[in-house]
Symmetry: C2
Subunit: 123 residues, 2 copies
């Protein structure tokens, strides 16, 4: 997953209402839940719910499918796994998961950090 996609997904989840919506959709499985059910459970004005569902869809986190008068929303597990994978890579890189690469070595010889280390007599 690219950084831009990850950021979209992060933005999607970075709101109380949207996180709550997503958390309701996750256990609901691939069939999902109709918009109205989400509104009932979260006590949201229809327009507000619709706004957040659009955001989640834009973020690629949920899919939409009409069935009769209702529109069912479902969590996109692939997108979520992609986000987790992205974060895992950006969390473990060179630290917890891999054998701890020497971080300082990767920075420009004259970087501020290196100058600082030198001035302190560190390697």
């Amino acid at each position: 997953m690219e950084t831009k996609t990850a950021r979209l997904a992060l933005t999607g989840l970075a709101h109380d209402t949207r996180l709550a919506i997503f958390r309701l959709l996750v256990p609901a499985g691939p069939e999902g839940l109709p918009a109205g059910e989400l509104g009932d459970q979260l006590h949201l004005a229809a327009a507000t719910l619709s706004f957040h569902l659009k955001e989640l869809r834009h973020a690629g986190l949920v899919s939409q499918q009409r069935a009769g008068r209702s529109i069912f929303y479902a969590a996109d597990y692939t997108a979520m796994n992609g986000l987790i994978a992205y974060l895992t890579e950006n969390c473990c890189q060179g630290v917890a998961c891999t054998p701890a690469a020497p971080a300082a070595a990767r920075y420009a010889k004259n970087s501020r950090a290196v100058r600082h280390r030198k001035s302190r007599g560190q390697t």
Copy 2:
């Protein structure tokens, strides 16, 4: 990790600049990088950088330590792992990771979703 904590962390990362900052800090290891180095690399006005660093700190994603005139910021791997754990639980619950629980069964007998399923002759 609680939902509130997770949301704070998500909000912390849900911004281009802050995600970029965090991505620079991750490979830098526990020693971290001085603020100025981050500013140099990301071409940020000092005040803007400081604002985002404060946000990241408030989100519990980075720690701060003064060393001489510089202030070093470091990624908090524990917080990041906590976030990943939270997302993993909220992604896999009853679906991908566990043996796929019957989602519909968990909803109120008279929920909109159930009414809808009944009206379609589904179980």
